[in-house]
Symmetry: C2
Subunit: 200 residues, 2 copies
């Protein structure tokens, strides 16, 4: 793997911990690069998730199948990482699937190698804690939003803070991310457009 391949993940990790060159070298040997095409699966429901994938470029969608409907609950793009954390941590089959929605390049670390890092590189134990805390805060916020906000408020928040997501993800997947049907999102958007028109 070229140094340029790991530049982004190295920057990402450095936001959490300082790692000296020797420590970094140990990690880097364990990382692998992979190219994925739109429509590919990172993991399918029922498989045990064995990888954490840092996204150099491209986009992913995590979803579950519920009564035959395909419902999205998470999206990730470049400079984020994606995995089925629950399956990865518990070594149980995953309930959902993760699919490539934009051609992607990822840098991956598998479960065994990660355990190796935890045991051998002291900085990693701390990194593991910090990143788990970080994603915990993120998902807590998501849970609070789902509990306390209406679909309309959730959509307005996306408009305000996550334009990237709206621009790169088809509307019916956005709908399920907000917890509603595609028809309802369509009407919601219409309502908002009318309100905005009246205010001009």
């Amino acid at each position: 793997m070229l140094a340029s391949d790991s530049a982004q993940i190295r920057l990402f990790i450095s936001q959490f911990i300082k790692m000296d060159e020797a420590e970094w070298m140990v990690n880097e040997r364990l990382l692998t690069k992979r190219i994925l095409k739109k429509g590919d699966y990172l993991i399918r429901a029922g498989e045990v998730c064995n990888l954490v994938s840092f996204i150099n470029k491209g986009g992913f969608r995590a979803f579950m199948e519920i009564n035959g409907e395909d419902r999205s609950n998470y999206f990730a793009f470049e400079n984020e990482y994606i995995t089925d954390y629950k399956s990865f941590l518990t070594r149980q089959p995953s309930v959902g699937s993760i699919q490539v929605i934009e051609d992607a390049e990822v840098i991956e670390l598998n479960y065994n190698d990660m355990q190796y890092c935890y045991e051998r590189i002291s900085a990693w134990q701390k990194f593991g804690r910090l990143i788990a805390e970080y994603v915990f805060i993120g998902v807590s916020q998501r849970a609070a939003d789902l509990l306390f906000k209406t679909p309309e408020q959730l959509y307005l928040a996306l408009l305000k803070d996550k334009r990237k997501l709206l621009d790169r993800v088809p509307q019916h997947q956005i709908a399920s991310y907000l917890g509603i049907q595609p028809e309802s999102l369509s009407r919601l958007r219409k309502r908002l457009a009318q309100v905005r028109a009246e205010n001009t």
Copy 2:
């Protein structure tokens, strides 16, 4: 603090890591016991959360004030721990509050002492990671439930798996935990009772 005071928390921690007697002694000096009465606050919105509180006995409710309404998003009872994790980790003022709903006895560790444990006791770094991963999985499940389940399905799940919560928490707080108004929960219960009656 008596050894009996820390028996429960010690058992709790041992579910995550093995700690030898010497390591445990270092911790134990840092733990303090506190008695709280129903109605007391563990933390109020706007304060920085400085404590993690393990519950020896009693019950707590985490809630937020939204348009003057008081909305519950979490409950915790004996042999769980409670804190405003986000405020505790980020050292920012908390958005919500935590209140005692049943007279309680807690064993507490403050932020600085916890950092001390992370730095000095190697097992703690791992413990911190494992527990962050554990709570992450919990809140992920909660977010998925809120996204994919109807209030009725959420309520039925409580009936099935969390009778304790239904028995110990007033109904209007359960309603807000499900993301609906008290009147709606009352009607939902009535609907379910009618369905059940018809099936007999």
